[in-house]
Structures are given as structure tokens and as C-alpha cells.
Symmetry: C2
Subunit: 362 residues, 2 copies
């Protein structure tokens, strides 16, 4: 472990999209704050005064209401969850290596991170205002103004069933400190097990509806398209829960190491309601596998860190990792099987290449 500042790879500045190197994520139950990825949709970050901020809750509810931050804190019990967030575009670079994805951000392995989030349950707020019969979805709108949103705010939705799940938080705290502005202060949504795009930052409005959001980021983007389709409203399948995924975090890709015993570590994330039950590591491209040691989870909704020790010969070795979820679902081998026109959810087997030099025993 070092205490050097983490240097992020900045993919764009407006909107600000940046990720840490994989090594900055390695072996941390909770991702250091300066290594937490930034995924923005609007060119400018909203500036919100927490003292005047309010949350409007309306739509198909019996008692529409507006809550100040103080009212949320007084009215509802605070809950804490350790949750891994993961951008739907994480590992997109692996899909771009199969075929180009013009205009899409070439995320590497770092568009994921884990934090301890605290705030109130969305379910408690919804119960307070009373959801009307016939409601099916909850639209979440932020204060940020993406260009694709036609002047409106960033807006997506989650099914009511998930919105009422106890793990979904309106969070004002990240790792026991006030939520930073860059991560959505004063209040953001945290939707465990689902693509990061549903965890709306700078939350301003919660609207109960009888159908999913018609906004760009629900109806056009963040959808799984067949390889030969182009994005259009309602086309493809909306991404919600994420599929089982894993990555090697240390050593870094293309690292120089000494031949002999080398500790390899990473994370796995089951997605949705599932858990990680096994992680396999291979040095022969998947012909044979060993099982990595799984570390205890920091929380039900956090990633599972893993590690193993490989005995590397001098020369170049490609290390492969894959995870299994609690339904015996396993990552597919090849990103070519998964390539899709928006480049989402690359959960193909993970690889790093290690260069081992013979040890100087003289």
C-alpha cells in the first residue's frame, strides 16, 4: 500500500468522466475516495446549497410532499449500506477491442468502486407519502442537465418493487463523511446491485408513475441492443440489475514482476440479488482453473475481494479470472459474444498480462 495520490485517467472534462488505475482499487474493502470513479452526464456539475435544497415527492402518491434535508433527517431513521457501484460502461474498452464504438467513453476496469453509504430508505419516504394503487415505477430526477435531455434534468426510473427494497437509499453520507459534491451532494440515490446510472446524483425529485421514465437515459441509452441495431426510443432492453463480473486488480496489466510466487488479487460482483460463490483463476487461457480465496464481504451489497498466489515462470503469462454467481451463472469467455452498439455490461473473462523476470539468485 502506498499513500501517493491516485492519478485518474480523465476520459472527458465536460462532462467529467474519470477512472482510477486498477491498482488503486486493489485490496480495499472501501475504495479510497480519491480513487472513486466519476461518471457525469451533464457538462456542468450542479451547485446546490444544502440549506435551501428540497426533495419533491409526487406523482401517484396520496400526500405529495417536499422535504428539506433537515426534514429527511428528522422524519426518517438513518440506515447504512456498504455498496459497490458499477457503471454499465465499465470495461467497455474490451468491447472496443472487438469493434469500434464511436462516441462512447472507453472505460477500462476502473468504473466501479465501493463505499459505505448512509441516508434514509427510499421505501420509508414512499411509505410516508403513500403510494397509490396501480403505480409500477419510481422516476428519479437529479439537478444535472445533460445535453441529451432536451433542457430537462438527468432522469431515470426503477421499478416500484426495487424502490421499496430496504437496500435502496437516499444517501447524504459516503464513508462516514458528508457526501461530496462530486458524488451527488446533498443527496443521491444508491441502488445496490443495479447499474450505476440508476443511482441518481443531486437528487431533486421522486415521482411515482405507472410506467418507466421516458427520458433519454432510460428510453434510449442504458439499453442492451442487438449487435446490428442502432439506439432509438424503446429499442432494446433496459439495463437494470448487472450480470456477474470480476476483474484482476493487482498486479496491474503489463506489470513487471519477479518470477516465482506472485500474489494476484481482484474483485467479483454478482449483481442483482445474487452473491459471488466462486472465483477461478487460470494461467492457461481457461483450460484449467484454480479457485481463488474469497475474502469476507464488507456488506451484502459490496463486491467480494479475492486473491491467490501464482507460481510464475520467467517470461510472459496471461492471467485470466472469472466469477460464478449463486445461480451457477458464470461469466462468458469472449467479449465478442457480448459486443453491443452502446458497449454495455462487458462481463467477459478478465485478463492481465504479467512479465516475470528470472530472479537473480547469484
Amino acid at each position: 500500500m502506498t499513500t501517493q495520490p491516485v492519478e485518474l485517467t480523465v476520459h472527458s472534462s465536460q462532462p467529467y468522466n474519470a477512472e482510477p488505475p486498477r491498482s488503486a482499487l486493489a485490496d480495499h474493502d472501501l475504495t479510497p475516495l480519491d480513487a472513486f470513479y466519476h461518471r457525469n452526464h451533464a457538462p456542468e456539475r450542479p451547485r446546490i446549497d444544502p440549506a435551501t435544497w428540497t426533495l419533491r415527492v409526487d406523482g401517484m402518491v396520496e400526500r405529495p410532499a417536499t422535504f428539506s434535508l433537515g426534514a429527511l433527517r428528522e422524519r426518517f431513521r438513518e440506515h447504512t449500506e456498504v455498496v459497490t457501484l458499477q457503471c454499465a460502461g465499465n470495461r467497455r474498452a474490451g468491447l472496443m477491442a472487438v469493434a469500434d464504438l464511436p462516441g462512447e467513453t472507453p472505460w477500462g476496469p476502473g468504473a466501479t468502486g465501493t463505499a459505505r453509504w448512509a441516508g434514509v430508505r427510499l421505501a420509508d419516504v414512499l411509505r410516508e407519502v403513500g403510494v397509490e394503487p396501480g403505480a409500477s415505477d419510481v422516476v428519479l430526477a437529479g439537478a444535472d442537465l445533460p445535453e441529451e435531455s432536451d433542457g430537462g434534468p438527468y432522469e431515470v426510473s426503477v421499478p416500484l418493487e426495487k424502490a421499496l427494497a430496504p437496500e435502496v437509499l437516499l444517501a447524504w453520507s459516503m464513508d462516514d463523511a458528508p457526501l461530496p459534491a462530486a458524488h451527488g451532494a446533498p443527496v443521491r440515490v444508491v441502488v445496490p446491485g443495479w447499474i450505476g446510472a440508476r443511482s441518481v446524483k443531486w437528487l431533486e425529485r421522486v415521482t411515482v408513475t405507472d410506467g418507466p421514465s421516458h427520458g433519454h437515459h432510460q428510453a434510449v441509452a442504458y439499453r442492451l441492443l442487438p449487435a446490428d441495431a442502432s439506439p432509438a426510443p424503446g429499442r432494446g432492453v433496459p439495463l437494470g440489475p448487472i450480470a456477474v463480473n470480476a476483474d484482476v486488480l493487482a498486479p496491474d496489466d503489463d506489470a513487471e514482476v519477479a518470477a516465482g510466487p506472485v500474489r494476484v488479487s481482484g474483485y467479483a460482483l454478482a449483481g442483482g440479488e445474487r452473491t459471488v460463490v466462486r472465483v477461478d483463476v487460470s494461467v492457461d487461457g481457461g483450460a484449467t482453473w484454480r479457485q481463488a480465496d474469497l475474502e469476507p464481504q464488507a456488506g451484502r451489497w459490496s463486491w467480494r475481494l479475492w486473491h491467490t498466489e501464482l507460481d510464475l515462470p520467467a517470461g510472459t503469462t496471461r492471467v485470466t479470472a472469472r466469477a460464478w454467481d449463486s445461480a451457477a451463472g458464470v461469466q462468458p469467455a469472449d467479449p465478442a459474444e457480448l459486443w453491443n452498439p452502446k458497449g454495455y455490461v462487458n462481463n467477459a473473462w478478465a485478463h492481465v498480462t504479467l512479465h516475470a523476470s528470472a530472479r537473480d539468485d547469484g
Copy 2:
């Protein structure tokens, strides 16, 4: 559709294990009763008189109780669910083609089927007897006596959380008729989304516990093992929910068809809490895919039937199908990636080979 009797492939007679040809499953929301697979663990089928049958409910409960069939019917509301059951060994033959699995039943595509089940919710029964704090699992024991059970009955368990889910039934009816003896009469468990082995037939005892069953079929069998491991108590991962799977059901494998438009149909099953969101069909080994048409589901827990029309050239075409679940999870390509020492959960891409003869246009 024909009304010819279905000829089952009998893998063994004691225990009786038999499956229909895939064509007998094709295009039926509900599997015809004579095409429903038989998976038994004991050499002899129990003979139970429904008039004297009782269900004992005990363990970590406040009020242990014994229910007759009449008492179950009177005390609790009847519920109906259309549910697809699938043996964990379904499609094992595809794994055996990778490497032999001595002593295991070579199930083809037919160890799955869908029925309308009616009975009472296990949750209602558990609430009636009062589950004690600290309970975590529910052990389900049948009247059948497998040789591996050391004189005891067939016994497995499900986590309490699943046992309390509204979809889990103690069923006495199959397709609006009394449950047949061969399928577990008078009462069997139906655990939607999970491997068939948890849907205990000839149910006699429900025991609430603070840990999973120690019985052979929970602690040794029905576990996912690494390729180089051998079965032993507690080794590997218990199989519960099943991973996304699909198969081509018609035309049959190696069928002779006329060149030109050919209707291809099959099923897909997401497993666990997930749903099927897309089915892809390929005639070039997965290089390119078309999307099949998905039919309405007969129920939340039933398979999703699909069909498409292929324009087949004269000669041999290998048709491939794969399904995606609602978390963007997709079937892996190659059964070699999945091979495991007990041969469970082969959810690799499905294939049939079709032989098309040129049409006689003279």
C-alpha cells in the same frame, strides 16, 4: 401437433428416470402430462394413502403441528402458479461430450417441463406454526428412500427466505387434476426458479432449522464442484436458483426438412428471480444473431417460449440459440467452460443440426 403417445427415453428403471424427446415439449405453454420428465432418487416409488397421509411441521417453530390433507385444504387458501421445473442435470449429455461423467444419468434436453400447480403456500403453513427467531433454513423430507440416504428419506433444504416467498407451494394439483403419484402425490413442494431437486415429492415433513440439510442430496450431491474436485460433504457450492438457459425444441436435432422457410422454436428460462429478455438464434455458429419472437409467458415462473423463421439453404445447417436474462446475463458459449464432476447446470449455447433437402419445384 399430433396426438400420438409420447415415447420417453428411459435412462433407468430403479430409480425411474425418463425424459421426452425435445419435440414433445415444443410450443406447449403447459407440458403434456405424458411428456413430463421423471426424476427419481429411490428405487421404489412410495405408495401413500391420501386418506391417512399427514404432514409434520416441526423444528424451530412455536407450535409444531401435523396436518392431514383435509386440514391443509380447510386451513389455508389455495394458490395456483404456472411453474417450469428443470432438473439440475438437464442437458448433461452436452457435458459428457466434453469429458465422461461415469455413473451420472445422460440427460438430454427433456429434463424440464411446465405445469400449472395448485396447493397452499409453504409460507402460510410456516406462519401458522410460527417460525422461531434464529431460524435460517427449511428442511423438506419426502417419503422416498434413496440408497444414498442411509436408510433415511430424500431430504433437502431451502433458505427460510425462499421458503417464505409467495411462489413456493405445497401442491396437490397438476394441470387442474389431482397430482399424479409419479409426480409426488398426495403433496409435493414446488420451488419456482430453483433446481428441480428442491421441489420434494411425496412430502411428509417440513422442519425449520438453523442451517441447511446435512442429507446426501444437499451436502454432497447437487453441488457445483471445480473440475478437479471430487464430491465430499460440504465441498463445492450448493445449487439453488438456476442460471439462464434455453434450448431449441423443434425441429428435432438431425431432422430432415425442406430447404426454404423453416419455423424453429424453443424455450428459455431465466432462473431465480430473473426474467428472459431476449433470445438470439444463429446459423453461423454465433458470428451473427437474429432475435427470436418471444411469446407471452403463461406465468411469472414459467419458461418463455420463442420462435423464429429461418430461410435454410439445401444442405446441413447448425442452428444455435442463446438467451439473455434481465440482468444482461447470457449463456456461455461452450460446455467445456462449464464442465463439472457431477455434470450440473449445462447452460451453454443450444444447438440442433438440420438437414435441408432442395425442394422439388418440378
